[in-house]
Amino acid sequence: MKKIIIGLGSCGIAAGGLKVKEALQNLAAEADSGIQVSETGCMGMCYAEPMVEILEDGHRTIYGGVDEKRAKEIFQNHALGGKPVADAVALDSDGGGSEQGFLAQQERIVLERCGAIDPESIDDALAMDAYAGLEKALKTMTAEQVVDEVLRAGVKGRGGAGFPTGQKWKFAAGYAAESKYIICNADEGDPGAFMDRSILEGDPHSVIEGMIIGGYAIGAAHGYIYARAEYPIAIRRLKIAIEAAEARGFLGKNILGSGFDFKLVIKEGAGAFVCGEETALIESIEGNRGMPRIRPPFPAERGLFDKPSNINNVETLANIGWILRKGADAFSAYGTEESNGTKVFALAGKVTRGGLVEIPIGMTISEVVNEIGGGTKDNKALKAVQMGGPSGGCIPANMMDTVIDYAPLAATGAIMGSGGMIVMDEDNCMVDIARYFLQFTQSESCGKCTFCKIGTKRMLETLERITQGKGEEGDVEKLETLSHQIKTNALCGLGQTAPNPVLTTIRYFRNEYDAHIRDKKCPTKQCKALISFNIVSDKCVGCTVCAKKCPVDAVSGKAKEVHAIDQGKCTKCGICKSMCKFDAVDIS
């Protein structure tokens, strides 16, 4: 019995997976072969989407970069003919395929079922042990024992701050109240980060199971999943999963005959980044504008609707079922002395194999970027890796041996963060990178506290001046002083960490700041105000391509004559340079 599975996470869909699925469905129907065509979530290899798997008697053959033409070939040769299309095989469960290197060093706890099951089928999930941890907890353990097991596993909050989850549960369990809440923070918002989305799209049951167990552990009968409305596929699959879980008795009254009741509701957020901050998230669920509250009191004491509440991130919760099922010891077999388990990263930027990776904590950045990710694209020199998004920092190339764990990363000035890992090469201007992240936090500031709403604005203005060649001596020191004030005095994590990208780029790439400020030059030729595009006359053959492609008609010149760029019109978009086959466009 053959089954064709198409990867239809957001990445697969974006890469054209729906067309491939339609084509395969049509082929299967035409051939009347009885071959089932189904879908799965992201298995992490976003760079190789759309991916198509042929599953036969437990043997998996996975093809990458499949378009409709290739799909037809795969269908006819492999699905019907039984002969794999060898040159297109990315992975083979026998260990073959071109992309084994991507998976070789990964360990899958959170992503165990992602890419392996149809996320809309609870049976698929159950076949891979979904809810087994819940069953064990409800039937064989007390709430205290569950808390202890999670404590013993040593799992830390995967949303970024890294607070021990078991501790958090213990606090919330310790407050007596007639009602309590457990909340899943699915308001993933870091630029370049998509771990939570992929988990929810690929295996929603893992999160639901974690929440039910958490509810049992802290004594909460109500759960909220706060998910951003920009994740429609994740929300749809969550809804399907919740309905299925209710139908199977994993949610609702008297779950699995244990007497424990648990109701789960999805609250869609309107896309404010700050709602990822737990107290702002609570305000938002309550129907208020998402603005952080003063802490203490912490949510464990007084949270949602002033009741004791516990908030965990998607990835954290996705670990829980596994921990309960396999035990704390199995979990703590992964990781370092300080931190157990795995961490999922969204590997993006100038990296060859960008996608979702789950690694045991303790690997080095270099191993992730160079071995799993295949190094930088186009053999350009690696410059830095940005970790932790707008709250994180840039770690320079000479520190790639830094171990991926909370403390070593914090020592670099970056943070573990929620899992954004953006690779930067020699073409990235680090001042501009700092400006980019600060612009993000500034525009996402909730407007409540002085240091964040105005302080980050003033920092951003300084960075903008620097990238425009209007920087002055003392600007860097001014940035550092204001950074310190904001880190110390802002109300919430968003503001307190906003200066991190600026501080780390100053720390490791001070020379780039100085070049912008003193020489009015952008060493990487990225800052538009500091560069100009020019035709190199002895290379230009007058092919007219650049003149035709220029969107603002800034290039002039007759055919077979040397062209020229009108600097007054040029918007420095770089299209001429990218189109020129003769390397005749130079940036100075």
Binding site: R293, G447, T450, F451, R458, L491
Partner: protein, 713 residues
């Protein structure tokens, strides 16, 4: 009760108190902008940060509960630095003038915005006491002031500045028409006596304030009449003598004695005054010695007169007969203009002003120059005398043509002689109005006051104290020849210091208040004032050209009441209504905040005056959310936050004007909660409730009471 430590000292606190409440109850000051005792802590301004032993970071005092044994630090270098930065950040996104520029610019800080608005509302009787709090000579200043206020008036960025001085004259003249013009209360007699040397504006001003403070005051005046340069330096067509005398009479009626014809240094001395029992002395002797032309041949010419001497002689009636004569006035200041216009009125055949730069560079008041031009006085600019010689009853004046070179230290382009341009012109009289200096012949063993390099008395700029204990100095004698209002201001500062001195108290300190400004009128965001109806600047009724010739009648006739009210209504009230209560200003002063330290982009919005009782000025909002929260707590919910990041604002429903907000019940709680001037009550329409906090922030009206009051209305 809990035992806590604040700044190293032991205190007690109630168990349910926050750190902020516990400190307040124990009289330990913690600043806050966003906390209102009627509301739950919010955590927006971040200024109440304190340090608590054993706690990470810097917790907020407003949101932290006290606990047994808590050790709190409310002030440290780091905390104060953070507070200052916080205030500077808020200030960088705050757009407004704490104090109207007219008030800031006035040397006496006269509350022009205040009295102009009172005039607009017809509250003339209230305007005079306000005026006389800072200036006892409004009849005088309403006529002859150089009006620095009007140069900075915000309305100047529209059709033209408000005629502040003319309005002052209008209301001051009204007061003088009364049988008993306004007299302030005198405080009980102190038994102390002050002697003032000189009955000019500085001396008169000091006398006015000293008398009010209960001190005995005697002015000694060398001339036969009061006023100093007001009388002997300003022509009567600008300041009629009866008006000056009437105003001086008011000062005298407060108990000030003036003795005339007494020459300090000769008739009386410091020693003689001391022996007469005076407890302090003010030297307000003025600056009345004209400067010479400084050209060859001047000493031998009897027909070269100095400007101040000429004006003085006209006042005394001892001037030379100028009828039919050709007059040249040398100089470009107000004295030169006064001399020229006076000569014209003495029936001179021709009057010509000789000035080495152009009209644009003339230091004289623009209005004075215009009047002189209107009266057809000839301006012989870019010309400078180089020599003079008497030729019988006439003089030959040697003149050089000049051209403007590079700017000099004063920023003005310095005139350079044009080679070979020397020529001679015949005049009957030359009036040298080049400048003045001070007659300090009294300085000597009896009176060893320090004199500075400009031949001025050296005095502390704030207390006006000289180097000699008990001797103060003010007016032109300290500043050199300056304006009346500057002398009046100096006189008041001297009086305040002399009061303290005579009572044996420390002299007043110069406290630098935080004053936020909108910047110059050139960079003013005119749109932020909202729609303003154009109202042409009022024109002062005045004598015709023909009526002015040969007459010393007052040229300017004064506003009608209708004119005054309309002109006063042009005031934009640009100064902040919340200036005395604004917490941002108070804390800015306390922590030495610099408005421009964190300068950057500012977002501005038109002031919203659509509500019947409330003015809403988002330019001043610090987003503390007090209004939003108290409105919600009142069950009204008319206000909310809109937008994100730096562009966040507080708005009524759908960002419509507040006047269109259907939910608003006019309770005024938002106004009471606003720590700055973003929500203020309208001056003319009083809110129907009394939902205000008093100055100490003590709750006077609860949310419930305000809502109940509003609903019963």
């Amino acid at each position: 009760m809990l035992n806590i430590k604040i700044n190293g000292k032991a205190y007690q606190a109630k168990g349910n108190q926050t750190v902020l409440e516990a400190c307040k109850e124990n009289n330990v000051f913690i600043p806050t902008l966003c906390h209102d005792p009627r509301l739950v802590p919010f955590g927006s301004c971040m200024i109440c940060r304190v340090e608590i032993e054993g706690q990470r970071g810097v917790p907020l005092a407003c949101g932290t509960q006290v606990a047994e044994g808590m050790v709190i630090t409310t002030e440290s270098a780091a905390i104060n630095e953070a507070r200052r930065v916080c205030l500077e950040l808020l200030a960088s996104q705050h757009y407004g003038d704490c104090v109207a520029p007219c008030v800031m610019e006035c040397p006496a800080n006269m509350d022009a915005m205040g009295y102009v608005n009172m005039i607009a509302q017809g509250r003339y009787d209230e305007a005079i006491p306000l005026i006389k709090k800072t200036n006892p000579l409004p009849v005088v200043c309403g006529r002859i002031c150089t009006r620095p206020c009007e140069k900075k008036c915000r309305r100047g960025a529209f059709e033209g500045p408000v005629g502040i001085a003319y309005l002052k004259r209008f209301v001051a003249d009204l007061d003088m028409e009364k049988e008993q013009p306004y007299l302030p209360e005198r405080m009980p007699a102190t038994g102390k006596k002050a002697a003032i040397i000189g009955a000019g504006p500085a001396g008169l001003s000091a006398a006015w304030f000293l008398a009010q403070m209960g001190h005995g005051v005697t002015i000694y005046e060398r001339q036969e009449n009061p006023g100093g340069m007001l009388r002997y330096g300003i022509p009567s067509y600008r300041l009629p003598r009866e008006d000056l005398d009437a105003e001086v009479d008011v000062i005298r009626s407060l108990g000030v004695e003036i003795r005339y014809g007494v020459d300090f240094g000769r008739d009386i001395t410091v020693d003689s005054l001391k022996s007469e029992g005076y407890d302090s002395i003010l030297l307000a002797v003025g600056s009345q010695v004209g400067t010479s032309l400084g050209v060859e041949g001047e000493e031998a010419c009897s027909n070269v007169i100095r400007g101040v001497d000429f004006l003085g002689s006209v006042t005394r009636g001892t001037q030379p007969d100028l009828k039919g004569k050709r007059i040249a006035v040398v100089g470009g200041g107000n004295t030169a203009i006064d001399c020229a216009r006076t000569a014209l009125r003495l029936a001179a055949q021709s009057v010509e002003i000789i000035y080495r730069r152009t009209v644009a560079e003339m230091p004289a008041d623009d209005m004075e120059i215009e009047e002189a031009q209107h009266e057809e006085i000839k301006f012989n600019i870019l010309t400078n005398p180089s020599g003079v010689s008497q030729a019988g009853s006439t003089v030959q004046l040697k003149l050089l043509k000049m051209e403007l070179g590079e700017p000099d230290a004063s920023g003005r382009r310095s005139p350079q002689p044009v080679k070979g341009s020397e020529h001679s012109v015949e005049y009957d009289y030359i009036i040298a109005a080049i400048g003045q200096t001070q007659d300090l012949s009294f300085v000597g063993p009896d009176c060893e006051v320090a004199v500075d390099k400009w031949n001025c008395l050296a005095a502390d700029s704030h207390t006006m104290a000289t180097n000699i204990d008990g001797i103060f100095a003010a007016g032109d004698a300290v500043t050199g020849p300056q304006t009346a209002i500057l002398a009046i201001a100096g006189g008041k500062r001297a009086a305040l210091a002399m009061d303290k001195y005579m009572l044996g108290q420390p002299l007043p300190k110069d406290i630098k208040l935080y004053n936020h400004v909108r910047g110059s009128n050139d960079e003013l965001d005119v749109a932020s004032f909202g729609e303003k109806e154009e109202i042409a600047k009022a024109v002062m009724p005045s004598l015709s050209k023909a009526e002015r010739h040969h007459s010393f009648d007052e040229v300017e006739l004064g506003f009608t009441e209708g004119q005054a009210k309309l002109e006063a209504s042009r005031c934009l009230s640009c100064g902040c209504a919340d200036v005395d209560e604004c917490k941002l200003r108070q804390l800015g002063t306390t922590y030495g905040a610099d408005q421009f330290a964190m300068a950057g982009e500012q977002t501005t919005h038109p002031i919203d005056e659509s509500h019947e009782y409330i003015v809403r000025d988002r330019n001043k909002c610090i987003l503390c959310g007090c209004c939003v929260r108290i409105c919600a707590a009142a069950g009204v919910g008319a206000l909310g936050f809109v937008g994100r990041g730096f562009d966040t604002t507080v708005e009524p429903s759908f960002s419509r004007p507040l006047g269109e907000e259907k939910n608003c019940i006019d309770c005024g709680l938002c106004v009471s909660a606003c720590p700055v001037g973003a929500l203020t009550p309208k001056a003319v329409a009083k809110l129907p409730t009394a939902a205000y906090l008093d100055l100490e922030g003590v709750q006077v009206t609860s949310i419930e009471d305000a809502v109940a009051q509003a609903k019963s209305n």
